[in-house]
């Protein structure tokens, strides 16, 4: 239990950079936007960044941003910003019912190893609830995910 809290804490903190990136997707100083889901746009500057393995920000894994990105992307729940960073990947894994993005979200939410298969199964069954359309936002995805988990006997404890 203690371990889980630690993971959760680390995950929530981890998100800092993710949330900052998600705050202004496609903005001049920020990271990658999502491609499938709405709220993203061009990636021009990022391609330039790649040509020298360069970076436009100085992110160091911290919550407090030194990376020049806006940090006002609502971090109402620890999972929100991370999900927005990997929303495409997560949606694919939810649709398929397995995958590393799905595992990452499970670990982030503190789902014990023994419950990961159940987590995968439940989200797979609820793809259309979690990703109802292509304009869904990360916050909506997070909210739906919590609702789905709450209504499952085994997963409810992780969504409390």
């Amino acid at each position: 239990m203690k371990m889980r809290k630690e993971i959760l804490l680390a995950a929530a903190l981890t998100l800092g950079s993710g949330s900052a990136l998600a705050a202004a997707p496609g903005g001049p100083d920020c990271g990658w936007g999502n491609l499938l889901f709405d709220g993203q746009s061009g990636m021009g500057p990022h391609f330039l960044a790649l040509t020298t393995n360069g970076t436009f920000n100085q992110t160091f894994g911290m919550t407090s941003g030194t990376n020049g990105c806006s940090t006002d992307g609502a971090l109402t729940y620890g999972g929100a910003s991370m999900i927005s960073s990997i929303m495409d990947e997560f949606s694919e894994d939810v649709a398929r019912g397995h995958g590393e993005a799905l595992d990452a979200v499970a670990v982030m939410m503190g789902v014990d190893k023994g419950d990961r298969a159940a987590f995968a199964k439940v989200v797979h069954q609820n793809f259309s609830t979690i990703f109802p359309h292509d304009k869904v936002t990360a916050q909506q995805v997070t909210d739906s995910l919590m609702t789905v988990m709450k209504s499952d006997a085994r997963l409810a404890k992780y969504a409390a």
Binding site: L13, W32, Q40, L48, T51, N53, F60, M62, R96, A101
Partner: protein, 634 residues
Amino acid sequence: MRVQIRYLSLSILIFLTSFSAAAFAEQGNPVKPIQAAAIEQQLWQSPEWINLLHYYPERFSKSGYRSHVDDRSFFNADNGIEEPREEMLATIAAFYREDELGNMHPICRFPARLHWLSEHIEIDPDTLPEAACADYVEWRGIVQAEQVTLVFPTYHLNSPSSMFGHTLLRLDRSVGETGSKWLSFAVNFGANVQAVDNSLLYAIKGLTGGYPGIFIVTPYYNKIREYNRIEKRDIWEYRLNLTPEEVERMVVHLWELKEVNFDYYFFDENCSYRLLELLEVARPGLELTDEFGITAIPIDTVKAIEAAGLIEDSMFRASQMTELQVLLEQLSDDETRYFEQLVENVGVVQSTGFIALALTKQQKIIDAAYRYQRYQQSTMVRDDALAKRSHTLLGLLNKYPADDTPLPIVVPVQPEKGHHSRRISIGVGERDEQAYQALSMRMAFHSLEDNGHGYLRGAHINMANLELRANNETDKVELQRLDVIDIFSLTPRSRFFSPLSWRVYTGLDRQMTDGVDRLTSHVTVGAGVAYSLFDDAVFYALGTGRLEFNRGFSDKRIKPAAGAAMGLLWHFSSMTTRLELAAEKFSNDKYRSRLQLRHNMPLARNHALHLSVNGEKHTADRFVDATLSYRYHF
């Protein structure tokens, strides 16, 4: 356990240094005795200190050293960049600074230095000021690592700085399988770009050291997206056998590099070189950087890390593109037709033909169509209609039972198992019944004909390739050619993918002009298509252009030419043959045509026999030139 104790002692040292004021007054200044001990032991000469400050031997510096770090804030002494001794003494004094006890206090900024010094000199924690290192504590809570993985995204020819590949480190949290590698942190060294320059300027500045280099720490999922999905590069991951104690040492030092600017030069002081330095800090006694004084090609640094016995095992992470191709190969002709229709029209799933297919087949077709759409989307701005269709496809895919059978991806030969990147050749040849000896030397990296084991097929990158010839009759030694840069990207097209094949090379070579063999300088480019004829043979055709400076040309000596080239590249067992027919015509109506054969027969990983035969016609001059050489990669 030992690690925890060490970490705890460091923590105590840093955070629990209370009661200091009184002790300070009673014992007098604690700085002097510590400095005296450092001087007595000549500690600044120890390799650990040299590594922590990123010093390298520098002839023109008084101390014999200079630091790669180009950032005043990294040093405590005014001349710290060149003076390891002064920096050590100033650092000791700085730890006792009583002003500004927050995040910027040297105790918070340089925990690895403090830790290392306290291992060698007795530093009473009670005498140290009580600095509040909130940021460091927060960061250590986030970035927790017990293992380090070396990550090598493979070669990417369409981006100048990625064509040699790239390396980064990944800090992994749990040894067991309970964690998620996606949530590990990637440690990446790259150019620190302040403003959005245009891409050409960007590349030039990047190559020449116009940008400083900086470390960033970011979740690994960002890197997977960047390399696997956007750049479509496969990734190799090498688990290193660093002990938790060594990992700890690296992470503590990494903190000292936060927002610190380094010199950044593309060829040597690059991403890969910096990672070697981090490994040297992690494991004292390790010597990795010495052999990379001139160039540090990422894969060569992987080889050095392997030679040092650091690699435990390797893992292949296929790119989105590789996965899609494997998936498409599994489809029959009929299924491929459905796939093709489905990409354009989601309604196809309602057709009786589609419904009649086995469920697992339907699932594969939908999956392939979805992935193909994402592939198409990945290089353009988001398209609403396409996003809607992709979402619908995902919804369809979701109707099938979860199937976690992995794709049957054939893991290629590990890149570090390939031949070395420098090459020297000695050969004998004959041209127009005159015999010669040839000596050539190439700094980097891989030719189409070289042993392809471990390399990306169709990726040809040569830099600084020089050939000298000694003519037996005339006893003259002449420069035959110098390729400054020579890149050829040969990617076969298929039904669903239409990559461009292209080449560009520039340098000096010899051409017959009105009966005289002259050294010319040139830039030659080409672009076109390539197709797989059968598994191991690729046919290509390119339109070419050449701008040549030739003293044999009358009036203007610089003249452009247009032409074409077509060829066949054939790999069989470990041998490679390339046959090319090329012709070009200059603006002054001079023309050249050339039929060339290259055949390479590897003898061992780093040894090969090479046969080269050229039959050429340069306007009125004709000749045949053949060389047989032995090639050694080192």
